[in-house]
């Protein structure tokens, strides 16, 4: 039985009667579409897999440390020739606990987020042009700003996308490690280490806010991927080399380490974890005060906000 041909009126314009939502929903839509843009790139998934590998290293490292410490009572374990004829569990316990610090302490989470930071930096350098830079480069901003949203909604949407990326690679895995350690240790761990939980959240927030603002600024300024990577590298790698050369090489004041924004965020994180300033690792590097590092982060963020507001305000919707 043949179906009747569809009426051409089915393709005609149809009116719409739907309640409209507020401009903040627009921010969510902007964030979602930005992440969608990123998810279509192989580079993103490659870097994200690296980040997951670091997480898995810590996840199983913690598990192994607790397992070996609590469950293996023998001083020697025969492995059937895999690692030689026998292994000494206490060697692995010491390595995991004292050297790699995979023992559910402030150092664990601090080191994990520091290490993830390298991947985050590279990923953001690539993501910057896709998420923000292209809007300026290809003149997409009038598309967003001609809609019933303000410039702040646009910026919040983009910031939200970057924040999701940063948190997906630092704070959320950090929280997973925290929860995991509580499960494999004792329930007392949660009760006794609320400061660590606060530290993870606060360090994650500092990373999120600072990196988001820095990326928005560099991406709106440079727009293209290669210059963005170069400036990003200069900001996070060169500054580290310079501060080390100035402080460790020339013997200048440790305050010169404040040039390294990543180190500043690490110091802020350690402050939130409650780590004694004198016990900061590596022990041979004198670090600036926590307060000073925090002040630098705040100043950097304020400068970024000021630049962004000027830069986005300058965009003409109707040209």
């Amino acid at each position: 039985m043949s179906r009747p041909a569809p009426s051409p009126h089915l393709l005609r314009y149809r009116t719409l009667n739907t309640a409209r939502r507020g401009p903040w929903f627009g921010s969510v839509a902007i964030a979602r579409s930005s992440l969608q843009l990123l998810a279509g790139r192989k580079m993103f998934w490659t870097l994200y897999i690296f980040s997951l590998l670091i997480f898995l290293l810590y996840f199983f490292g913690q598990y192994l440390q607790v397992f070996l410490e609590q469950r293996v009572s023998e001083s020697l374990v025969r492995t059937g020739g895999v690692f030689g004829r026998t292994i000494r569990p206490d060697f692995f316990v010491n390595m995991l606990r004292d050297t790699l610090r995979m023992n559910g302490t402030a150092d664990t989470y601090g080191d994990f987020m520091w290490t993830e930071g390298y991947i985050v930096m590279v990923l953001l350098a690539f993501a910057g042009s896709a998420i923000v830079g292209n809007d300026f480069r290809f003149n997409s901003l009038p598309f967003y700003l001609s809609k019933p949203i303000g410039r702040r909604h646009y910026l919040v949407g983009k910031a939200l996308a970057i924040a999701v990326l940063v948190n997906a690679m630092t704070t959320i895995p950090g929280l997973c490690l925290y929860v995991e350690y509580g499960f494999i240790d004792t329930w007392e761990y949660y009760k006794n280490s609320t400061r660590l939980l606060f530290g993870i959240l606060a360090y994650g927030a500092a990373l999120t806010i600072t990196l988001t603002l820095l990326l928005l600024v560099t991406a709106t300024w440079l727009r293209r991927t290669v210059p963005l990577i170069m400036v990003w590298t200069a900001a996070f790698v060169m500054s580290r080399l310079v501060q080390r050369w100035l402080v460790d090489g020339l013997g200048l004041s440790p305050r010169w380490r404040l040039l390294d924004i990543w180190n500043d965020m690490y110091l802020f994180g350690q402050w939130c974890f409650g780590t004694n300033h004198l016990l900061l690792r590596p022990g041979n590097q004198i670090q600036p005060e926590y307060r000073e590092a925090t002040a630098v982060i705040v100043v950097v963020c304020l400068v970024c906000v000021w630049y962004l507001s000027r830069r986005v305000r300058a965009v003409e919707v109707v040209q």
Binding site: T18, A130, D135, S146, P148, Q319
Partner: protein
């Protein structure tokens, strides 16, 4: 709603630069053309109409939304929700697919996500982009990009479409297709169109009303037909015999001779109420014969240029 736009002595300055000066406009819903050379104040007027900026003086209403120096400026989201804006620039988001781009526009206009996606498919189908909707925007041709921009303008079914140079960069066939679409949207679906352009032929093809802006002031306003009445009636005459005597006779009757040559080809401009038979009446007394009388009315473009020169 009596008036789509009702502005009373609206002014807008940027520092010392006066972008709009005492603009008074009363336009009913319909298809409106906004004409003016660069720097005439079109962009500033569009921003005002979209609620992106507030005026510095005067007051008015756009779609019943009050515009005043104390207005919400860029924060007038309710007004922008009623307007679909098609920018002149590409304003595409590279990497997105057509359907994602239009549904994102729907969400930005406040539609729930599911509704925005469904609506994006509908609008793209309506505009003949159904087969290209899953392509990335970089792969679209110029004509398709213009239609896509129109799709994102229509996705939330606004009563007013604000179109900035809608046929910019299109080849003649695509331009005709776009103009047909716009005409259909206005005529058959009751959309009010505000077309900002410097292509007067576009205005003639689509619009019922026209506003001419010059140096931040309104130089002409009314229906296209009304404005066309202001056109100078012109004729091409082909005369045989005493050319000079016929010219003098024309001038004696207050007919402006725009040009003529020894072959007897005249271009003349006549005053209102002139009858064609009067050309023939002058001929016997001057020893000439009128071989042809052809209408040569001023185009809207020429009228626009004349208005600009007068300004």
């Amino acid at each position: 709603m009596d008036f789509l736009i009702d502005l009373d002595r609206i002014g807008r300055t940027f520092g010392t630069h006066v972008a709009l000066r005492d603009v008074t406009l009363r336009l009913r819903p319909g298809r409106i053309g906004l004409l003016g050379p660069n720097g005439a104040g079109k962009s500033t007027l569009l921003k005002l109409l979209m609620g992106l900026i507030s005026p510095t003086s005067g007051s008015g209403r756009v779609l019943e939304h009050v515009i005043s120096p104390n207005g919400a400026g860029e924060g007038d989201y309710e007004l922008r929700r009623l307007i679909g804006f098609m920018p002149e620039a590409d304003a595409l988001v590279p990497g997105l697919r057509g359907v994602d781009y239009v549904s994102l526009a729907g969400e930005l206009y406040g539609l729930p996500r599911k509704q925005a996606i469904r609506r994006a498919h509908e609008v793209l189908t309506y505009l003949g982009l159904e087969e290209a909707r899953y392509r990335r925007l970089e792969e679209y041709s110029t004509g398709m990009k213009q239609r896509l921009k129109l799709a994102q303008t229509l996705v939330h079914d606004p009563p007013v479409l604000l179109l900035d140079e809608p046929t910019s960069g299109l080849d003649p066939a695509s331009r005709d297709a776009m103009l047909r679409l716009l005409l259909e949207l206005g005529r058959d679906f009751g959309k009010s169109l505000i077309v900002s352009t410097h292509l007067l032929a576009d205005v003639e093809a689509v619009c019922e009303q026209v506003v001419i802006l010059m140096n931040g002031e309104v130089r002409g306003q009314g229906s296209v037909d009304e404005l066309c009445k202001r056109r100078h009636d012109r004729f091409i005459l082909k005369i045989q015999g005493e050319i000079e005597a016929y010219k003098l006779a024309l001038e004696a009757k207050a007919v402006r001779v725009l040009s003529y040559n020894a072959k007897g080809d005249f271009r003349v401009s006549v005053a209102e109420g002139w009858k064609i038979s009067e050309f023939f009446g002058l001929a016997p007394n001057t020893g000439s014969v009128v071989r042809a009388v052809l209408p040569d009315d001023e185009t809207l473009e020429e009228m626009f240029l004349r208005t600009a020169n007068n300004a």
